[in-house]
Assembly symmetry: C2
Homo-oligomer: 304 residues x 2
């Protein structure tokens, strides 16, 4: 990739990402107003987890894919919000002492540190429900068939055959020696399934038939893996202050990652190869796919 | 209530409840087949939590309300299965050391005891997803509008404005002194919202307009509270072996309950009054509501 291309891709992504992040924060602020009753602490914890600090890559991906099909930005935002609910709930639960035991997330204390474990478990559970509440609301899409397809696809992407199944494999990785194929499958579930849903959600809203989504699915699979390899590289080489969380934890836990299995140089080369391949899947689209192309580049260039 | 009525009500409930319980166990067994990969432990934990031992009162309520409208038993079973996923996930999370710290549930070790805390958190999360996966599937109901209404109502009943909000109030009850009105609100959220959904789900499937559901809503609210008062009475007077879990925990935690606030005798009288009131809400129905009436009686007569 030429330096100038990377710079303009970065600028394009950053401008749009800032808009999306502001819209997501504002939507969470509106949705999570704190009631004046004994549930106040629960809502405070949900706000602590959901508002501020995230890259909001997933909602941005929904917007970028929605651009391809000229979908309403409001629908794309609400679907992005639902996905962010799932992503944030998974971070809150993964950070718990019984899971990854993390104290910092997005530059702030994790929810169980700022509140307590019981509140963190419940706040995660409530964000989990909120995702489905948002998708089922007619403000998200006027067609109930589209809404139910979104619910179905998200429940699959977040459950045992998706994100949560990947997290279970990740827990087992501390006791087992996974090979490259198993680590790839783990990451396809743990982060790939939800990233794939971001792209698929726009296709569902646009009523694109399943067999016309192959390019988009290929794009999603490739950037999902590239994203994870970039994460593994940041875990080894990154700046904890920029990342807003502890780094180097996988090596300390004895878990195999793309970097431990391939080494830094081959892992980085693999990530760039996946990004090129992801963009090649978009060859049938014109300038309307430029944001998706820029996101692919950004994923391996980011510093957090 | 006449003794003979109670006996025949009990027999009617028990016969149908046994059928429903067998169907729920068999459906979970089918749905949760253990994969031959590192997620096996997650599925084993979900099976441990979901299969066997429960009263399955909620799926029975869906069946009983579905009888009123001559709905398909298959649809009622699948909705009951989704509700049971939510109920079971909440038990798994509530039993965690950071929450109620229980070792026994339904006569078996709790999930975090039989497995570990991380697996219990994830198994709960996966059952939570499974509920929405089941509701969104066209096998549950052919009409996508009905399915999305079910999703929406369940997400509301289980989230911060329902079950999880009630559980948060319950956590706060250890540090606060709640009055009767606050305990009533707590229980209307913690157990009432999901019980109300059981009844509402059948009305949604039968496309009964909102304003024609008032009797059913009154019935659900009354049996929900009666159920909780009976639970509080069992917590004080019950047999731990029959209950399959530790009893006397609320008093030990210094939490106010219906029994601590009203005393045993007034609490029992209140439960019976609520049951009579619940049945009075069904006056517009004939024999097709007999199972709902019998369930109301059973709720305060049960020994576990």
């Amino acid at each position: 990739m030429v330096g100038g291309e990377a710079a303009s891709a970065g600028a394009l992504v950053k401008a749009r990402a800032a808009d999306v992040a502001a819209a997501i924060d504002s939507a969470f602020d509106h949705l999570l107003s704190v009631p004046d009753d004994p549930r106040a602490r629960l809502y405070e914890a949900m706000r602590h987890a959901a508002i501020g600090g995230g890259k909001r890559l997933r909602p941005l991906l929904v917007q970028a894919t929605s651009d391809l099909f000229h979908l309403s930005r409001e629908s794309a935002l609400r679907v992005g919000l639902a996905i962010e609910c799932i992503h944030v709930y998974s971070l809150v639960h993964d950070d718990l002492p019984a899971m990854d035991d993390d104290d910092m997330r997005r530059g702030k204390p994790t929810v169980h540190k700022a509140f307590d474990e019981a509140t963190a478990i419940l706040a995660g559970d409530c964000l989990h429900d909120l995702a489905f509440q948002i998708l089922s609301d007619e403000d998200t899409h006027p067609d109930p068939f589209v809404r139910i397809e979104l619910v179905r696809a998200l429940a699959l992407a977040s459950g045992p055959a998706g994100m949560a199944g990947g997290q279970m494999m990740d827990l087992e990785a501390e006791h087992a020696r996974f090979d490259l194929a198993t680590v790839t499958r783990l990451q396809n579930l743990k982060t790939g399934a939800l990233i794939a849903f971001c792209v698929d959600a726009a296709a569902i809203m646009a009523r694109i038939p399943e067999d016309a989504r192959k390019g988009l699915h290929g794009y999603a699979r490739d950037i999902g893996l590239a994203f994870q390899i970039a994460d593994d590289l940041l875990d080894v080489e990154g700046d904890a202050a920029l990342a807003g969380k502890a780094l180097g934890k996988d090596a300390a836990a004895g878990k195999e990652t793309f970097v431990s299995l391939l080494g830094v140089d081959r892992a980085r080369a693999q990530a760039h190869m996946l990004v090129d391949q992801a963009k090649a899947h978009l060859h049938g689209y014109g300038v309307e796919a430029d944001l998706l192309r820029a996101i692919a580049d950004y994923i391996v260039e980011r510093d957090r």
